[in-house]
């Protein structure tokens, strides 16, 4: 029993170190690609991304998404004009949206779209507004999935990035995803997803269509060879005050965990209680690795929360 516990502790410590290594490699790659200007300007004819937004109805959030410098990119916002008439009217007026004719997509006949709106402003051409009636009684997750399905049916590009109201993309996330896709031949990657921060996944449009829409099992259907895992944050929490507070608390908790684990390990070792000492030493390794990873990703967080804010909508 004791040997099994020791093996378990060893594997936990090794896993923490391995994840830290992946995070540090991801950080280095991100810093490398941050200065690769050619990707944004010359790759734009190859890879297109449609960002599908559910529960995002404030101009600040939409402006932040439209601020991406990548050209082959669109933002599709789904909103219920019947349920939220003020928000819808505000967005329509701010971005000078006009109603355009919409024919139901053959790929996705159950999208439930009431109307489709596009901006007359040249600077906001990448914005599409979808009016979709919300069904009463559904959960927030079901509502988000239905919104993403509706947005997917009008999406123009080959990759879909679903976002909900609580998630905000980091300013360079789109470029980072494009760079990652550009490394592989066309059609070789079906999903790119990140494990760090708020999880987001960029999914090939055809995979979503073949699966009949977004759902819990969508990512599991994709074969491993077509998945690309990133170990760096692509998205953060939309609520910046909440996120900053949470980040401070996490930092303090991790530091406290390392210190307490050191003290307890020392005490257990002196008392001759080596099983306990091994457990707390493992806790120290995990907390230390998490603290190091957090510190290594600090510049990314800075980008996320100092954030660029586009003024495209202001006039």
């Amino acid at each position: 029993m004791k040997v099994v516990l020791l093996l378990l502790l060893c594997s936990v410590g090794a896993a923490a170190c391995l994840v830290l290594r992946l995070v540090l490699r991801g950080r280095d790659k991100r810093l490398l690609l941050r200065d690769a200007h050619g990707i944004g300007s010359s790759l734009s004819e190859e890879i297109g991304i449609s960002v599908l937004c559910s529960g995002i109805d404030t101009p600040e959030r939409i402006d932040a998404l439209l601020g991406s410098e990548y050209t082959r990119f669109e933002v599709i916002v789904v909103l219920d004009a019947g349920g939220f008439p003020e928000e819808f009217a505000h967005l329509s007026a701010r971005y000078r949206m006009i109603r355009v004719e919409w024919h139901g997509s053959q790929e996705f006949p159950t999208a439930g779209i009431r109307s489709l709106w596009r901006s007359r402003r040249r600077s906001c051409r990448r914005l599409v507004l979808v009016d979709r009636p919300q069904r009463a009684g559904g959960t927030a997750a079901e509502s988000s999935v239905a919104d993403w399905n509706a947005a997917a049916s009008v999406a123009a590009y080959d990759y879909l990035l679903p976002l909900d109201g609580r998630t905000a993309l980091l300013p360079d996330a789109v470029m980072r995803l494009v760079a990652e896709l550009g490394e592989h031949p066309a059609g070789a990657v079906d999903v790119v997803r990140s494990h760090i921060g708020i999880p987001v996944a960029l999914i090939a449009r055809d995979v979503v269509m073949e699966a009949g829409g977004f759902g819990k099992r969508l990512l599991r259907q994709i074969p491993r060879r077509k998945r690309l895992e990133l170990w760096e944050p692509l998205a953060g929490r939309a609520d910046r005050t909440d996120a900053a507070k949470r980040a401070r608390v996490e930092k303090l908790v991790l530091r406290a965990a390392v210190i307490v684990a050191f003290i307890v390990t020392g005490w257990a070792a002196v008392a001759g209680y080596w099983t306990g000492a091994a457990v707390t030493a493992t806790v120290a390794v995990v907390a230390g690795a998490a603290a190091y990873g957090r510190q290594a990703l600090a510049p990314n967080r800075e980008v996320a929360y100092l954030g660029r804010r586009s003024n495209k909508g202001d006039s």
Binding site: G13, D35, H37, D206, T275, A281, G288, Y292
Partner: protein, 314 residues
């Protein structure tokens, strides 16, 4: 025996935890230094270089604290940031500064010490510094690296150091270039490092050179290359190149009602055909063109696309 194993494990785990804590502290201090001390010093270096570049004397500027920890890298980053935005000023001074302070030799040593993406980053920085042909030879070992980014940025160092032989370097590059790498080469081309003459590139036997040629045709909208693009589409030995050529034709808004295109489309699978249809709809191709290229059972799909995307031009 088990107790001994526990003791050994605890000591090792504590050593790892200590190392991680020291690493965290070091990273925090480095981050603080980068925001404070380094930012001020960078501004001073930039100011000194700008004054020297815009002055007539061509006198070597004074770099405060040069030689201290981290200042060489800081000066390299400052010069690299300045090289592409000198707007006609004489950059010989920057080259002189690099020679005088031995920054290129120091960067090469730094490249040797780093590993993985850090090495690639240092090579990318080295590619931005003004250098000579000796640098192209110095980075040859990195062309065989396992990390594709190290290989690629070693190539960019060669191209920047010896642009006269750019085509030879690309031709002898040991692995096929990815789309993102071709895009980076296009950025070098815009900086004036690569030749824009697309003809020899498209005629070349090297796949990498042909891909760069295709990218130039797309980037600069060279309609005269239509015939060569159609040859790529017709050539079944390189389907990936044929696909790229087809998309290039599409982005040039050339007529797609050609036998070569029709044959190529029949060989595509459903996903590829739909992606091409979306691209054609976005580029504004007429329904009639799609009707003549695609089967009747795909008609409802492309009709929806054309009817929807045309309205995005409203």
């Amino acid at each position: 025996m088990t107790d001994t194993l526990y003791k050994i494990y605890t000591v090792l785990a504590l050593a790892v935890a200590c190392a991680l804590s020291v690493g965290t502290l070091f990273a925090a201090l480095r981050e603080r230094r980068r925001r404070g001390h380094d930012a001020i010093l960078r501004a001073k270096y930039l100011h000194a270089l700008m004054l020297a570049l815009s002055g007539d004397e061509g006198r070597m500027p004074y770099f405060p604290l040069f030689g201290h920890y981290g200042t060489r890298l800081l000066l390299c980053e400052t010069i690299a940031g300045l090289v592409s935005i000198t707007y006609g000023l004489n950059t010989a001074l920057l080259r002189h500064a690099i020679d005088r302070y031995g920054l290129d030799r120091w960067m090469l040593r730094h490249v040797r010490r780093c590993r993985g993406y850090r090495r690639a980053r240092t090579l990318a920085l080295l590619a931005c510094l003004p250098s000579d042909e000796t640098m192209a030879a110095a980075v040859v070992p990195y062309l065989r690296s396992r990390n594709r980014y190290v290989r690629f940025y070693a190539l960019t160092v060669q191209l920047a150091a010896d642009p006269a032989h750019a085509l030879r370097y690309i031709e002898s590059y040991p692995s096929p270039l990815a789309a993102s790498e071709v895009a980076e080469l296009m950025a070098l081309l815009r900086r004036g490092i690569l030749p824009v003459a697309y003809g020899p590139l498209l005629e070349s036997r090297s796949l990498n050179l042909r891909r760069v040629g295709l990218a130039i045709v797309r980037q600069f909208g060279i309609e005269e290359a239509e015939g060569r693009l159609l040859q790529f589409v017709a050539d079944s030995s390189e389907p990936e190149l044929g696909r790229e050529a087809l998309y290039a034709l599409c982005s040039l808004r050339c007529s797609l009602l050609r036998r070569e295109v029709a044959v190529f489309i029949t060989g595509m699978d459903l996903r590829e055909r739909r992606a091409l249809l979306r691209c054609m709809a976005l580029e504004g191709y007429a329904l009639n063109t799609m009707q003549r290229l695609f089967e009747d059972d795909e008609r409802p799909y492309y009709e929806t696309l054309v009817q929807s995307y045309k309205r995005s031009l409203a």
